[in-house]
Amino acid sequence: MAHVNCISRVLLYSKKARIMKNTLKVERAILNLTQGDLANRIGVSRQTINSIESNRYVPSTVLSLKLSEVFGKPVNDFFTLGEDD
């Protein structure tokens, strides 16, 4: 199983994924939404929301704008670049 872990780590934890930070969890809590609710609203899977929240996946511009629409805030308010960039 160790090699599977290693492969997925190499594939998923790219530099790009690490430099983005987000406060999706906080925004979701403010609106009292579960990951599933938010996923349904923007038409993605719950796993996608989970991956974004844990900085494993950087969403596209379209998805970010959909999130911005749900939260009623500009994208910059909940997505920020990390110190590495």
């Binding site: 599977v4 997925s8 998923l12 993605v44 899977s45 796993q47 996946y57 596209s60």
Partner: protein, 148 residues
């Protein structure tokens, strides 16, 4: 202007073709068909007779069923899944090219050491290469989906 609209039309058609996916239930059909075909290939060794033609046909059937698994839509086919598909395709392509280039050399080296009379450069069959590419794609895709 006319040229632009033709280009746009071509681009849309290509995109439509690239985005084409089979319904989700094809995944189950694909797995069932591929496993049954593999079992049938293996079971031919328990019987006497010439099954080469049947084996050849069954190998193609296995590849076709695995291909339907790849083409089948996920329950939620969002951008993250499409991203994983793209990554898995590129890994499968790299694996296919490397295997095709290196496997004959590896074979030649091994045979040269252990059985020099049989040492020769032999090209790989289409089944071997496609089997490798399809399995690499599926393995990477499922790892990414599970861990991502």
């Amino acid at each position: 202007m006319k040229m632009k609209s033709i280009q746009e039309c071509e681009r849309r058609r290509a995109q439509k073709l690239l985005n084409y996916k089979l319904p989700t239930y094809w995944k189950k059909i694909g797995w069932a068909g591929a496993i049954l075909s593999l079992v049938a290939i293996m079971s031919t060794s328990f019987f006497d007779g010439d099954f080469e033609l049947l084996k050849d046909i069954l190998r193609k059937v296995v590849l076709a069923f695995l291909f339907t698994v790849i083409l089948a839509r996920e329950e939620v086919e969002d951008e993250r899944v499409q991203n994983f598909r793209a990554q898995s395709f590129s890994f499968a392509f790299l694996a296919g090219v490397l295997y095709t280039l290196l496997q004959p050399i590896a074979n030649w080296i091994v045979f040269s050491i252990f059985r020099p009379e049989r040492a020769a450069f032999e090209d790989l069959g289409d089944f071997q290469i496609l089997w490798l590419m399809l399995t690499v794609y599926l393995v990477f895709f499922y790892i990414l989906k599970k861990r991502g």
